[in-house]
């Protein structure tokens, strides 16, 4: 018997003898290990099968996860992935996402504990998305896809059970948002007229990557009428240019998820991805007069010393601090809809390639098999 099997078969380590779903779910709920939904019992056998897709030591933490500073070991992550209903081959994506969101620049401490309705959104790029059937097409944010539903749920269970983001104790969200149950998509690279997110960030197209974004829920951008790229971008800018999100106050990265049909029209009319970013930065502005006096005084004046002192009421306030900070992906299926996702503001997205323990990039989940 292997060392991991020895460990998992010790009394009290894995959930043995409770393979009944209702009893296991009730036990998890009673111990505070739950997102409220039923769980798959994390038996020794299931956890071991999950860890078959992990080539790192099962007991060495990948990260310390705030606010509890819990040790996110492969073993604990695997138990949560089992509970969420994941297939074992999803494990490398989950582990890479956990590692990415524990990067200091992501500010997971703030994201976990804030009153703001933010949750880590995971965007998957590269061939792993098709291999695992992670949806980036029709209804990408919606139900019906095991990979999207359960990878996102596993991450939330890790944030709860290892990170300690327990509502009212570690997670102080005023109202939260549905993406806190599960929030995973693939970019629809096949339908994009531009380079995908990971290529834009310096990875090879055949690399598989995970990008984490501290995002609010998506807001629709409906435009069935514009027949030019400029017309669609005008509607995009009008939707992003609002006062009530964090992006205007910080060095943030607002996320624009263009539907394929909108993206195609915009590209047809000669816009590169950089052009789209520049358009959004220059046009998705809010006139200073739309901010309340207190927000002007306590946020804009304070966060941007000198920029808005004695500024005229029509001074444009941009949605972020540079055009490069606007994130653009292509997402979804047929239809004239795009999405805007404001972010937590005080966070930077993090992109990581799926890598084996030896540092080499993995092209397939199967390479993690041990």
């Amino acid at each position: 018997m292997s060392v991991i099997a020895d460990y998992l078969n010790k009394p009290g380590v894995a959930m043995e003898g409770i393979d009944d779903l209702e009893a296991a779910s009730e036990l998890a709920r009673s111990r505070g290990w739950s997102d409220g939904l039923p769980i798959v019992p994390p038996t020794a056998d299931r956890v071991q099968r999950m860890l078959a897709y992990c080539d790192r030591p099962w007991d060495e933490p990948i990260a310390q996860m705030p606010p509890r500073n819990g040790a996110a070991t492969p073993l604990r992550i695997a138990a949560n992935a089992v509970m969420a209903g994941c297939r074992p081959e999803y494990f490398p994506v989950i582990a890479t996402a956990i590692e990415a969101m524990c990067d200091q620049s992501f500010n997971l401490y703030g994201i976990q504990t804030t009153t703001h309705p933010v949750s880590p959104l995971v965007i998957v790029n590269g061939p792993i998305a098709a291999e695992l059937a992670i949806n980036g097409g029709h209804n990408a944010f919606g139900p019906g896809w095991q990979a999207n539903a359960t990878i996102g749920r596993a991450i939330r269970l890790v944030l709860l059970n290892i990170g300690g983001a327990i509502p009212t104790v570690g997670d102080m969200a005023t109202a939260g948002q549905p993406g806190k149950y599960s929030f995973v998509v693939a970019e629809n690279e096949a339908a994009s007229p531009w380079e995908p997110l990971h290529v834009e960030r310096g990875f090879a197209r055949e690399s598989s990557t995970v990008t984490v974004v501290g995002a609010e829920g998506p807001h629709n951008i409906n435009d069935h009428e514009s027949d030019t790229g400029e017309g669609i971008l005008c509607m995009v800018a009008g939707t992003i240019g609002i006062t009530g999100h964090n992006n205007v106050y910080y060095h943030s990265e607002p996320l624009l998820a263009l539907g394929p049909e909108h993206a195609k029209t915009i590209a047809r009319d000669g816009y590169s991805k950089a052009d789209v970013k520049r358009y959004v930065f220059e046009h998705a502005t809010v006139p200073l007069r739309k901010f309340s006096q207190r927000n002007y005084e306590r946020r804009l004046l304070k966060n941007f010393p000198g920029r808005y002192d004695n500024a005229p009421p029509d001074t444009p306030v941009p949605p972020c601090q540079s055009a490069d900070d606007v994130m653009v992906i292509v997402l979804g299926g047929a239809g004239k809809h795009s999405m805007y996702l404001p972010t937590f503001g005080e966070t930077r997205s993090v992109t990581r390639a799926l890598k084996l323990a030896n540092g080499r990039e993995a092209r397939s989940a199967r390479e993690f098999g041990v």
Binding site: P67, R68, N69, T113, G164, T168, G170, M172
Partner: protein, 75 residues
Amino acid sequence: MAELRKRGLRTGVICSTPFEKLGQAQARVFGAPDLPLMMIQHPLGGIPLDDVRARDQQAMPKVLALIETVLKGAD
């Protein structure tokens, strides 16, 4: 504050009521489980200045008591 307390300084945190459990949990996480939480009524933001001053009155006796423990050399 927890870090300062671990370094030997007497510190405390003024905290509004809904954040008490978070404050207690984080004090434990950061290794200062006895970090005093001086509770005030929520909210502190978005209220008139007179109401902010009332919060000040809630917190002040607790801040003074903490200072007193420092002056007496007790904690």
